[in-house]
């Protein structure tokens, strides 16, 4: 398979520093699909943590830096729904009063895609030729689902994984309780929420829980590990790369 398309990898900071294997999985997928890639090596963070905590000046600085690095790319692809939501939707809020930057933010946002969305909606591929033996359950991350309206795309990709069975958990679209600094500042509430999520994951009977946002998965995995569950947490890119 070859294609004339080139994607520019936008790597969520958590993937970059904690889960580089997710980034590598994304590379493996694009290699498999014959898509050429580049990855700006000076990228750091899109500014979402600062924005969510209310530090708009810091978020704006991060956003400007991001735009400068990425604005000339043809397609910007990121393995994280919330980061894409930040660039596509929240950047516009940040530059409400600055027409010039607003324009650049909109331009950049229009070319930014979440990984599963890019594969299905833009490349029009629903089967990436992956195999994985096991029962998989999918968690709908909030910003991916409600901010970007993505829910069917990843499910279609999972259903086409050879050997895999997609099992829906109860309330897959209910927040896992991560919420950025919320999880650290209000750990008791956040834990009660992730406990419900983990309960639904385990009750589904799946061996693997997956999703399109490592932040939520990091929260879920952290709780599963603490309670000694054998359910594995994998980012959708990791499932599609095999």
């Amino acid at each position: 398979m070859t294609s004339t398309k080139t994607v520019t990898l936008f790597v969520q900071c958590l993937v970059d520093s904690l889960y580089p294997q997710v980034g590598e999985a994304m590379v493996a997928i694009f290699n498999k699909l014959g898509i050429s890639m580049n990855c700006p090596s000076d990228q750091t963070c899109c500014g979402q943590p600062a924005f969510n905590a209310g530090y708009r000046k810091a978020a704006r600085a991060a956003a400007k830096r991001f735009i400068k690095i990425f604005e000339n790319s043809e397609s910007i692809v990121c393995p994280s729904g919330s980061c894409v939501n930040m660039v596509k939707n929240h950047y516009q809020e940040l530059f409400e009063d600055d027409v010039k930057w607003l324009e650049r933010a909109v331009q950049t946002g229009q070319r930014t895609y979440e990984l599963s969305q890019y594969i299905t909606d833009i490349l029009k591929i629903e089967d990436v030729g992956a195999c994985c033996n096991g029962k998989i359950t999918y968690h709908d991350s909030c910003h991916l689902l409600r901010g970007l309206g993505i829910s069917e795309q990843p499910r279609r990709l999972i259903r086409n994984i050879k050997g895999a069975e997609l099992i829906e958990m109860l309330e897959s679209d209910r927040c896992c309780g991560f919420g950025g600094t919320f999880s650290v500042k209000y750990p008791v509430i956040s834990t009660a929420m992730v406990d419900d999520k983990v309960h639904n994951i385990i009750a589904s009977g799946a061996d693997i829980v997956t999703g399109c946002d490592i932040s939520c998965l990091m929260n879920i995995q952290g709780r599963l590990n603490r309670i000694g569950s054998s359910v594995k947490t994998l980012h959708i890119a990791q499932l599609l790369a095999d």
Binding site: V11, D16, S17, L18, Y19, P20, V22, G23, E24, V27, S36, M37, N38, C39, S41, D42, Q43, G47, P49, A50, N52, A53, G54, Y55, R56, K57, A58, A62, R65, E93, C142, H143, R146, G147, C175, G177, F178, G179, T181, F182, S183, V184, K185, Y186, P187, V188, I189, S190, T191, A192, M193, V194, D196, M218, Q221, G222, R223, N225, R226, G228
Partner: protein, 478 residues
Amino acid sequence: MNILNYKSEAECAINNPVLQKALANLQERIGKGTAQGYRELPEGPELRLKAHAIRMRSIENLDILLIALADGIRKNGGHIHFAYDGKTALKHCLEIARKHNVKLAVKGKSMLTEEIGLNHALNDAGIETVETDLGEYIIQLAGEKPSHIIAPAIHKTKEQIGRLFQDKLGIAYTDDPPALTRAARKALREKFLQADMGISGCNLACAETGHITTVSNEGNIRMATTLPKVHVAFMGMERVTADLKDHEILFRLLAMGAAAQKMAGYVSYIGGPARSGQTDGPEAFHLIVIDNGRSRILADTDFREMLCCIRCGGCLNVCPVYGKIGGHSYGYAYSGPVGAVVNPLLMGINRASDLCLGESLCGACMEACPVNIDIPRMLLLLRAKLAQGDKTWDVKVKSRVEQVSFAAWSCLIQSRPLYDLFLKTAYHGQKLLPRNNKMISRLPFAGKGWTQSRDLQPLAEQSFISRFKDNFAEKQND
């Protein structure tokens, strides 16, 4: 600064299995029912967007609509009072009570009267005040606060209510819901017949016709507003709609948001006292329109949208945070997502800072809201005020330490080499931390909250960016 006990109340609620079950039930039943109801609307779910536009238009023309409403009410023979704050509203109500020599007042459920502390003021003036909504009646007997806008007593079990009624109403103990309801009904009927004043809130008002609308599923509001000789209604100044067309849309969506119903059980359009020749209705009708901080919200275009709220409680029924912590944690009249924005705006952003910060920003509230209010957007703006301080809203910076940390973070992410250096140092530093099955099980400082109940994936030895440079970039160039 923070006078609320958000965290400790939340913890209490989370550790209360009865409440947890009740909250889960409520969200399962009504939350999901509402979502289904929107999908089945004849106009489709887009009606919510239309309703949002209708509400915004009303709010932007509030002055004109309120004048028209006042004219209409007067024409119908009613009285209208405008109260700048809660205290003035209470003064109006007490004056009316004195004039009519009121000894006993019966009330329909109204969050606004909770906001201004009406029951307290009436009791202090020697006027017995009885809540007549069953849930409100229960918590009034128990001396507690409502925990849900529509279902104020969801935190109580039938056994608790049985003991409460045994104690307060002097009936034999029973936990049979119909028997308990009958006992309450009997006690309340007597109050209805004796009362000299009926008090209600106001779900919506219509400027074109000069009427207010009350909605209930128990019929208690209709009794409270028709049997006593005076009816006093309290209305938040934002609750008016322009005409019957707008009113009809909002009214339907209100029932859907509140209880997943196409229409509430009892609906009354009230415009004034009983006309001559009419057998039902009060001799006098007063509408008290309350500002109490709302014009300040109106003046700020960032938050004006919040005045679209029709207090249906729909957002509570889907919020995963409310679903865990219940209503009491919010420490004020309004709970759930609506409370998280309205309470800070009404009572002070610093005072209610936990409400601005204690949500996960999942956005479920907006989908459930019959008027599509963007609550997460406003929570983020409230956070921005807490982070940086704000003169207009008298907000002080919440945490200097956090401010400095984000300033440092900001420098760090502006330079990749510096960022890499930080990652490298942290990678080595984390070796000192204890592990559980390869994951970090105890973090220091601010990270403690995370590892209280969860483990954390450790930093990788080599970042993705650096791996890409080493492994993939070259290959691609080959």
